[in-house]
């Protein structure tokens, strides 16, 4: 059974239509990139999955069951979440940021230590950083800490909302490499929101293309590149890939 299914989803903010009649099943254990121009509803779609946004119509099913909105924290602990601008807690050290959820889940200290070390190695963060505060790190380093935090409990689903958006091209390249590394090391369903098609093609196996709240096309990268569904997809690809 698929882990994430959206059935007939619509979302409005007042009169503003954010998503309309979305019917979509995400393929397990691969990375899917959600792309589209700004305002197309990418972030809203992503936040449906961990219940940060609740649809006006339709059902969101995660791990094979419709979301129980009374028990969201339990669900979210099984879903990794990282956002643009890192969202690291400034009052906590690197270590405290990464291990917060594990400590609240009362993991054994040894296990926490081992997992932290493993994750930091995976994203090439020096272990000497554990006692530093986020403000003492560069943007790329902070982003890596954010990834570690999201991966701590080894979630089967991983949501990334423009995670590399604010980085300079060099750092971005580097961290994208780490991401691919991470992806190969532990199999999981990753959904990545990005406005950058190049990034999407580099990191994801599948694409979901949105335009003004509607699902325009979804499939593997190759399928869509070879066979764009309509003029919008074609021009979106052209404008993004030519520059």
């Amino acid at each position: 059974m698929s882990q994430i299914t959206l059935e007939n989803i619509s979302k409005f903010y007042g009169d503003q239509q954010a998503l309309l009649d979305i019917e979509l099943t995400f393929t397990d254990d691969v990375t899917t990139a959600v792309v589209g121009p700004s305002g197309s509803g990418k972030s809203t779609l992503l936040q449906m999955i961990n219940g940060l946004v609740r649809p006006n119509h339709g059902t969101v099913a995660v791990f094979g069951k419709p979301i129980d909105y009374q028990r969201l924290p339990e669900l979210r602990l099984r879903i990794g979440y990282a956002v643009q601008g890192t969202g690291l807690f400034p009052h906590l050290t690197v270590e405290a940021n990464i291990t917060l959820l594990a400590r609240l889940a009362r993991w054994d200290p040894e296990r926490i230590k081992a997992r932290t070390k493993e994750l930091m190695n995976l994203v090439s963060l020096p272990l000497s950083y554990v006692q530093r505060y986020p403000y003492e790190l560069s943007g790329g380093e902070q982003q890596r800490v954010g990834l570690c935090r999201a991966m701590m409990l080894n979630p089967q689903i991983f949501l990334l909302d423009e995670p590399f958006g604010a980085l300079d091209p060099m750092t971005r390249n580097e961290i994208q490499r780490e991401f691919l590394h991470l992806q190969r090391s532990e199999a999981r369903t990753i959904i990545l929101v990005t406005h950058d098609l190049r990034e999407a093609l580099k990191l994801a196996q599948r694409l979901v293309i949105l335009d003004r709240g509607r699902l325009v096309q979804h499939g593997t990268c190759a399928e869509i590149l070879e066979n764009p569904a309509n003029g919008f997809v074609r021009s979106f690809f052209q404008s993004q890939l030519e520059t």
Binding site: R76, G80, Y81, A96, L101, L104
Partner: protein
């Protein structure tokens, strides 16, 4: 993990509470003596207190209470056992009797309606008098108030209170048929104005210590317009009969001139109340034991006052934190709740301190309880407002992430929101603490003691050095509190989250 740790605060406050809480030890029968906050009130109360001490009673002094109503309420509620009061004040201001009654009738009414005993009067009558300079009186041959009608050219200036009291100028003008237009003048300036011949006639109190110094002549109230203001100890009827008997010995011991002299000793010669009272009792032959009351050293007094002051301030502050921080969180969590709570807290802040203290008296009597209650109410707004504002201003990205990674509402509050809000909440607590230290000086008006005591007395005596005796330690305390909070901040908040001054 670093961050705000409530346990530290709780332990800190408990220690403080224990440290200052055990100040009142039990002992022999204690009589609580009160007084109003003016010169004569202090002297008479000190005489009462010393006489009782001489006869082996323990005395607790609650002097300088802020006015007639506060003293009377305190006696009614049993917060004090005795204070010196004036027959005229009882009739006019408290009982609001439509006509004048005899001393005996007044006693009966007080006994019947309030279960109080008005003991035998000290003897003098400190009523209003009309004063003019001695030389002018001699020159024009003025002896009685009715003589004034013959000199329409005289310049009249009265205190604002006298101008407006119904037993003041309006009735006086009617009774003596005086057709002049008096000006309003601050009582403290009137005597000076007369000395400099800028004014001819003003109101005075019969036993005013300044009368001799300014060479004033008091005209005889030949139509007996002014009510009698006979001073006497007013006690609760249930008080030990021996105490009433001892205080009865004071009846008829002080004449008008005598009282004026005692007042002058304090106002002009700057003698202490204790010294004046002791000398009076000694000369009147009322001291039997020959024992001198052991005077506390200045430093011991200062220490005691400071501890009392801190006790008032910090008990109120801690109570304020316990209430205002949760309410601040509630305001943040529920919009519907936020408006009424913030308005209510804001409203409390607009009540003038003295008025708020006065409102507390019918509910809590006098002393530390109502003072702490008032200070508690004052500390609510700064803490509440800062708590809510700090929580509202947390970076929305952090709020979203803390929800998105799966923290429950309680966990978000404890591990993310409160630690991030801590510096601002702490700043609110600091503001409340400093406000409390300042406002607590007013608590002396309702008998709560503390550093306000010398300030209240100093104000009554127009004695700057006495005022400074309270004001300087209070200021030092405020600065030290600022420092202490800065230290606490360093302990509880990572340095990079503190606001630093711009470079």
């Amino acid at each position: 993990m670093r961050g705000i740790d409530m346990r530290v605060l709780i332990i800190l406050s408990m220690t403080l509470f224990l440290l200052v809480g055990g100040a009142n030890a039990a002992g022999a029968q204690t009589v609580v003596v009160g007084s109003k906050n003016f010169n004569e009130g202090y002297i008479l109360a000190e005489i009462i207190a010393r006489l009782l001490e001489d006869r082996d009673f323990r005395v607790e002094r609650k002097f300088g209470l802020g006015g007639t109503l506060i003293c009377f309420e305190a006696l009614k509620n049993g917060n004090i056992d005795v204070y010196p009061e004036y027959s005229g004040t009882l009739g006019e201001a408290i009982l609001k009797l439509p006509r004048r009654v005899s001393y005996a009738d007044l006693r009966g009414i007080l006994k019947q309606r309030f279960d109080m005993d008005l003991l035998g009067s000290f003897g003098f009558n400190n009523t209003y008098a009309i004063a003019l300079s001695g030389s002018l009186a001699q020159q024009r041959g003025l002896k009685k108030i009715s003589d004034l009608a013959r000199f329409p050219g005289l310049r009249f200036g009265f205190s604002h209170e006298f101008l407006n009291r119904h037993d003041g100028w309006p009735g006086l003008a009617r009774t003596y048929d005086l057709a002049v237009r008096p000006v309003g003048i601050e009582h403290g300036l009137a005597y000076q104005a007369i000395r400099e011949s800028k004014l001819d006639v003003t109101d005075a109190y019969i036993t005013d210590g300044d009368i001799e110094k300014f060479d004033l002549f008091l005209l005889e109230d030949d139509k007996q317009y002014f009510p009698q203001y006979l001073a006497a100890p007013l006690v609760r009827a249930e008080l030990d009969g021996r105490i009433k008997q001892i205080l009865g010995e004071l009846a008829g011991t002080i004449t008008d001139d005598h009282m004026r002299g005692l007042n002058a000793m304090v106002v002009l010669e700057r003698k202490s109340f204790a010294e004046v009272a002791h000398r009076f009792l000694n000369e009147a032959g009322l001291l039997t034991s020959g024992r001198q009351r052991i005077e506390e050293s200045k430093w011991a007094t200062l220490l005691y006052r400071t501890i009392t002051h801190l006790k008032l301030t910090f008990i109120a502050l801690i109570a304020g934190m316990v209430v205002a921080i949760p309410f601040g969180i509630l305001v943040y969590r529920s919009r519907a709740f936020s408006r009424p709570v913030m308005y209510f807290a804001g409203l409390l802040q607009t009540i003038p301190s003295i008025a708020l203290l006065a409102f507390m008296i019918p509910l809590f009597g006098i002393g530390a309880k109502p003072a702490i209650m008032a200070l508690f109410l004052y500390s609510l707004l700064p803490i509440l407002r800062n708590t809510a504002a700090a929580l509202f201003s947390i970076d929305p990205v952090l709020k979203k992430v803390s929800v998105g990674i799966g923290l429950t509402a309680q966990q978000r509050l404890r591990y993310v929101e409160l630690p991030l809000a801590a510096p601002t909440i702490l700043a609110g607590i600091k503001t409340a603490a400093v406000i409390n230290i300042g406002t607590a000086t007013l608590a002396a008006f309702i008998g709560a003691g503390g550093l306000g005591e010398p300030i209240v007395t100093g104000l009554a005596l127009n004695d700057t050095s006495l005022i400074l005796e309270g004001a300087i330690p209070a200021a030092v305390l405020a600065i030290m509190t600022e420092w202490a909070f800065e230290g606490l901040e360093k302990l509880m908040v990572p340095a990079h989250l503190l606001q630093k001054p711009a470079e």
